[in-house]
Amino acid sequence: MNSSVACADEVLVSCRGVWKVFGKHVDEAIEASRDRGVSKKQILHDHGCVIGVSDVSLEVKRGEIFCIMGLSGSGKSTLIRLLNKLIVPSAGQVLVKGQDLATLDGAALRKVRSQHIGMVFQSVALLPHRSVLENVAFGLEVQGVSKHERHAAAQQSLEKVGLSDWATRFPGELSGGMQQRVGLARVLTCDPEIILMDEPFSALDPLIRRQLQDEFRGLTKSLGKSAVFITHDLEEAIRLGDRIAIMKDGVIIQVGSAEDIVLKPADAYVADFVAGISRLHLVRAHSVMSQHAQWAARHPHIDLAALPVAGPQADLDELINLLIQSGAEALLIVEGGQPVGVVTPTDLLRGVQGSESEEGAAVVAPEVQA
């Protein structure tokens, strides 16, 4: 294992049993919820407390985009604000780069916020009385960087988001999509390792949103940043997220890759969510393939070696194209030179539909993690 792999496993943000309860009798409410399993509604009634975030533990690793998906009121906006202590947790620990935020004094917390963990807002929050360049330079201005230096850095980040010609304009002159790009440029100027994105694209129209999603993912990956991305849109989470957490009523009910969540929803709530999601680019050969030995036994007249070959990571879209173009009865899935399974038209149809393959999928699935 080389050092870059070790680096990729480094945990940048970590939450351990974090609670946020709004109200007066916080400790009683947490105790009632954690130890006696009292429902959220009952706690509001008994203690007058609203549970925002309930016993959340999560880890964000270096270089990954971690999406938190939930509907309004699910506590996702509260959760992301706990990560830079805009909201103080009622219980539990939040660690950023190994430092417990609760133990930091004012100056140390400001340093973490200004240098290590940036934030982009749904409302963008561009200061209306400042030019675009001055807005983008804001973070460095706060850190006391000289005007010349911070404007140079701001100009560079404006170039990254393709708005270098707009530096002298004012926020009011920009469209919503451009404003959100400026918001992104502002956070990039301070060069933090972690970017918190609080529903940044929710207010944009679908076309611009897609464009920004792709740009954001490209930028984050090319700059090697980690991001926590809040969204209420599962498709957005799937497009962007390396891992996705599904949140409901303050609780994270499932964490996993997009494929995990779509193929193996943890409960009916998640299943409902993923029902409408297209599987074409999500589901991969290894999840739908049948065992090749059994298939060969049932189809003795077909030579396995003559079948078109695909890898286990090929998605349904590729497999369908390959099958149609070749006109073969099935596809042979090969990994490391060894056949590991076959994908038949039935498997493909099942995959598109959302059910797993008739046989063998459950046996193969655990290997996905490795």
């Binding site: 604000r81 830079n84 805009l86 004012g106 917390l109 400001r110 340093k111 973490v112 916020r113 200004s114 240098q115 940036g118 934030m119 807002f121 409302s123 929050a125 200061l127 209306p128 009385h129 804001f138 973070g139 201005e141 706060v142 850190q143 004012f170 009011g172 002159e173 301070c190 918190l196």
Partner: protein, 286 residues
């Protein structure tokens, strides 16, 4: 306590208290009197330093610089020359001195108090009832005690004008500071601002339009007190009007009223053009 004698007892107590205050702290009030009178006189001296046409042109130039239109400069100069040609130049300047002194003092007290009130709602809860009292109390009520303490003259006039000028700027400053949009506070905090940076870089710029409106309103309130201040010996246009009313010199009272209106309009325009929100609007329209 006997209910029938209560009113007279109360009056006696107030009189005794006031007497005690004038006797025991006479030197304090004399000192305040001297400082305030000195302030108004110094401003008055400054405004009378140059001939009237020079002052008119200077104020006109200021109007042109703030508004960017030569027309408002021309109107300003014309208005001031009218004040001079109706023979009320020195009265106009002395009223200007009084209003500027009172407004400046009101801003010096009102803006910092407003900022503190905006930042700490509890303090605001104490200040607001006091302001309500100041604004509902008829000025005549505090004029008499003020005369008793500071005597007849420009010091009392200044204090009376100062009292009415404070509430608008204080209230609107507190409001402006309190109304900073939540998302911008979050932006500041998430960017790692210190409390001072959050105030100067985020809260204050957002509060500026409100504060400027407050300054303008305070100025207008101060002008509204000019005639009443004339009763307690402010000198200037107020006293000219008061004198004209007493002698039923209608023509002269109208002249003085005209001068007050001209002066008020000019200062109102100046103050409004100085607000940053208007400059921004102009910037966007270009």
């Amino acid at each position: 306590m006997n209910p029938s004698t209560f009113p007279s007892d109360f009056d006696a107590a107030v009189d005794a208290g006031l007497e005690w205050l004038t006797d025991s702290s006479a030197h304090v009030f004399d000192f305040i009197n001297e400082v305030l009178t000195g302030l108004v006189q110094a401003l008055n001296w400054l405004l009378n330093l140059a001939p009237f046409y020079v002052v008119a042109v200077l104020i006109g130039a200021l109007a042109w610089r703030l508004s960017g239109h030569w027309r408002s400069a021309l109107l300003t100069i014309t208005g001031l020359l009218v004040c001079a040609y109706i023979g009320l130049w020195s009265e106009t300047m002395s009223t200007l001195a009084l209003v500027l002194a009172a407004t400046t003092l009101a801003l010096l007290v009102g803006i910092p108090c407003g900022v503190l009130g905006g930042l700490w709602p509890k303090l605001d809860g104490v200040v607001q009832p006091v302001l309500d009292l100041l604004q509902t109390l008829p000025p005549y009520i505090y004029l008499l005690p003020a005369i008793a303490l500071l005597g007849y003259g420009s010091a009392t006039a200044l204090v009376a004008t100062f009292i009415v000028a404070i509430p608008p700027v204080l209230r609107l400053t507190a409001l402006g500071i309190r109304m900073t949009p939540r998302s911008f506070i979050e932006l500041g905090e998430a960017s790692g601002t210190s409390p001072a940076q959050l105030f100067f870089k985020i809260r204050l710029p957002f509060a500026m339009p409100s504060i400027m409106t407050g300054i303008n309103q305070s100025l207008m309130m101060a002008f509204g007190m000019v005639v009443i201040a004339g009763i307690v010996g402010s000198g200037g246009l107020g006293e000219a009007i008061y004198g004209a009313i007493r002698t039923l010199d209608i023509a002269r009272s109208i002249d003085a009223a005209l001068a007050i209106v001209i002066l008020t309009l000019i200062l109102d325009r100046l103050a409004q053009n100085a607000t940053p929100s208007q400059r921004e609007a102009q910037h966007e329209s270009h």
